[in-house]
Symmetry: C2
Subunit: 420 residues, 2 copies
Amino acid sequence: MESQVQQLIPHVVIVGAGFGGLRAARELANARVRVTMVDKNNYHLFQPLLYQVATAGLSPEDIAHPVRDILRHQDNFDFRMAEVHSVDLAGKRLLTSDGEIDYDYLILAVGGETHYFGMESIAQSAFGMKDIQDATSIRNHLLKMFELANEEHDPEKRKAMLTFVIAGGGPTGVELSGAISELTHLVLSRDYPQLKQAEVRIVLAEMFDRLLPVFPNELSENTVKVLRKKGVEVRFHAQVTGYDGAQLTFKDDASIATDTVIWSAGVKASAVMSTLGVAQGSLGRVPVELTLQLKEAPNVFLIGDCALLFDSTGRPLPMVSPVAIQQGVVAAENIKALINDRSPVQFRYKDPGILATIGRNQAVARLWGMNFRGFLAWLLWLFVHLIRLIGFRDRLLVLIKWTWDYIFYDRSVRLIGPCL
Amino acid sequence: MESQVQQLIPHVVIVGAGFGGLRAARELANARVRVTMVDKNNYHLFQPLLYQVATAGLSPEDIAHPVRDILRHQDNFDFRMAEVHSVDLAGKRLLTSDGEIDYDYLILAVGGETHYFGMESIAQSAFGMKDIQDATSIRNHLLKMFELANEEHDPEKRKAMLTFVIAGGGPTGVELSGAISELTHLVLSRDYPQLKQAEVRIVLAEMFDRLLPVFPNELSENTVKVLRKKGVEVRFHAQVTGYDGAQLTFKDDASIATDTVIWSAGVKASAVMSTLGVAQGSLGRVPVELTLQLKEAPNVFLIGDCALLFDSTGRPLPMVSPVAIQQGVVAAENIKALINDRSPVQFRYKDPGILATIGRNQAVARLWGMNFRGFLAWLLWLFVHLIRLIGFRDRLLVLIKWTWDYIFYDRSVRLIGPCL
């Protein structure tokens, strides 16, 4: 049904509706191209607040926004809800759950997935923390454990129900363990007055010797102090070796009896990257040119977590949204350049700083060359996350929920159910 | 672990956290009893707005509120999340998914479930409309149909994808068909600009010759007129006989090719009522004394949809929340009476009036002996539903969402996914 004129306009396909993909699509708004975004979900997920869904603070709705709505006013944009099974570089097409999709230019912004480092038992019995399904599963499970423990008379069983282990001391692990501590001590303590709070145990297990390794050491140390004050047991040199659903084992032969392990200790590039048929680097990421082009196919651009590029010190660029967003801009610019026979430009990462929250009034931030912690860092964190949400409506609703929870020590989404 | 004193205090068990059960629990707040509420979900569901979850207007969170939170300040109250399999009247105990629960007094407020009138094919292939799972399944499915239709080139297949049939012309059917019309014509028309709106067909199929039979005839006729203006095809004398997932068939040999049938044509008492071992009346409801006591067991009270009681004209009391709430009060009062050797009082229903909305600016209401329709009825509907929601927070959030959607013709929860 497409007119012949449309067929002559270059077709840019963007895979992934994450931060990078969305930004690239927007940058192509006024270009003489057709843009098709492909994602297995019909929404953009605001991942930085996923841990709040996992801890009953926010609804999935608050951090998931329909892609068609976000780009409603962009005339050259279309969306396909489909899962990409593989990329055929030679044939310039994608094989998807919804048939083939041809492209002239491709932007792969497929992001990452949980990395279990080959430990099957962890993959099977622990919770990942990458998508809405993960987050609502964790929320349902945490709340269910309290319901069960409340009726359990066997102290050993009750102890395992009330022991929550988070593996991985990066921002997600820190934010989760802080939030679980507040959920249990500030909110659930009132829901289950018979349960002894002293029986609740929250363990943050980190393989190396510090939390938040990308932050300055002073802030990492502050984070440990704040978490311990919140009753979180921070364990270093704790390398997980397996979890059978009952016993979590470590390399030093230690073990913890627990019904709950949340794995936030690793992310790797999405599995679809292995279908490109090109060499993959560390964590499955695929090396790209400085122009973000794939060496083997200059009409293919890789951005965000799935792309491997190094900073000036030779370290891989981190898997964070600012990298993806800045790369989205450059990938779009370079596609316009190629179409107009100009030379593509090189990507240079401008680090906007890093932020992580530990909970109520507590966060750490490295911004403008300065370290922030405590209340000021927490205000910065709130502000930055609020303005980055999509649309006035989402911002207003999240602001109201945060304010409510702050004042009343509440977490209103403590609902158990597969569809909540 | 319970003290002996506690064991001597009568134990009142309430099954069901619906309108009636909650009200009964509250009325027992100051009584010298232990109250245990049992429900398979850990939340109270505000069913009157369920159709808005099914049509992407509200989140499950907005209409589901944790029971432990609602009754947090009631010292004699405890909650058990468990499914009741059967009631043992002689043994004064419940058999549940979480073991046995003994009672001295029992209030059964188990509500209703979808009634398919023995049509297996409908039960299997149509959507029910009774709980959160139903509502989010409908929302996911409706949105998925638009995604699929947008890529479908076969006009027959596309037509079936875009044909939505709602069976049953009661309040739920009217509210749903009005809301689906607005979702498609006002919101999805912008998300899918290539789809021709003329291909969308919404059918409301009613077995008898009028909609909203409990309303005055004038209001029923107004409802038909408004729905038809909204593009809803209202069919009377349309008795469904089966649905194989592709063809919906009627008794007069008519049929409709559709991928979507929503069954809102029947409710019956919850299946657990058949385990009492007493005679059941129409729709599986169990007849009770005017004191709401079960004749066979005077320590057992039945309230709401599962109880059968007649009004002064000899018609069964309707399965609506005001009946359940007023009965909750009387059941609680009568338990207190029995404990204190007073005589139980008789229940008399005071009809507070009825309301149903058809959509934007349109509703019908029968209140204070008067008929209301159009904008005024719609304002009444909004007000009544808003104040009946639990807590200031839920009211504020729903008010903001309604205002936003009204001004911007939006429905923000158009997310597809099992956990949204």
